[in-house]
């Protein structure tokens, strides 16, 4: 399995899609997480993402190793953005390619669910009413 793991200011769906292209793969599944303009009916101005980069990369690599154990996936890209992000901006992209679609859906969901539980990245919410939420 080939893996791309990256944390940076700006990420795009296209770079993940480019990475997972393979003539052996008939299924590409992409999850893109974007910034919502509200949290529980409160208007959100922006999010600020902070990360413990060295450990975050290491935890993302652990997730990739788990995927490799579970499914015969050919390619996996895991990208996360940091810094100020505004409604509509892309915060996270997971892209998976495999010979057939079924396991690509399963692996993609597993990666985003696990990333949200274990990878040391934090968002701070800046609301329109001036409040800041963690």
């Amino acid at each position: 399995m080939e893996v791309l793991v990256n944390i940076k200011e700006v990420i795009t769906v296209q770079e993940a899609l480019d990475f997972i292209q393979s003539p052996e793969c008939g299924g590409q599944v992409i999850f893109s997480g974007t910034v919502r303009n509200h949290t529980q009916q409160r208007a959100v101005l922006k999010l600020f993402y902070e990360c413990y980069e060295a450990m975050a990369i290491s935890e993302m690599e652990k997730i990739a190793a788990q995927v490799k154990e579970k499914w015969p996936i050919q390619k996996l890209a895991m990208l996360h953005a940091v810094g100020d992000k505004y409604p509509g901006d892309i915060a996270v992209v997971i892209a998976v390619a495999s010979a057939h679609r079924g396991i690509a859906f399963d692996a993609c969901e597993y990666v985003i669910d696990t990333l949200k539980e274990t990878v040391p990245i934090w968002k701070k919410e800046f609301f329109a009413d001036g409040e800041i939420g963690v």
């Binding site: 993402y49 450990m55 996270v92 040391p120």
Partner: protein
């Protein structure tokens, strides 16, 4: 090496790095010391400690060479 703080833990302590007291020799003792010095940390839903970039259990010993970090509930994605 200092103790790195992130997210809500950094906001509560007011600093990004703390000095590890000499008597703190394992993860459990570190948590107890942090809760004593910064009682507001108890309001976090969870507080994990990472040693050398991996989540650590309370029994894990700490040395001055370790990279130690306080990990409040993560919220990536």
């Amino acid at each position: 090496m200092g103790i790195l703080l992130f997210g809500a833990a950094k906001d509560i302590a007011g600093v990004p790095v703390l000095e590890k007291p000499a008597h703190v020799n394992n993860v459990g003792a570190l948590k107890a010391w942090l809760y004593e010095v910064y009682p507001s940390l108890q309001q976090l839903k969870s507080m994990m400690i990472a040693v050398n970039r991996s989540y650590a259990v309370d029994m894990q010993a700490l040395s001055d060479q370790d990279e130690i970090a306080v990990i409040p509930p993560v919220s990536g994605g």
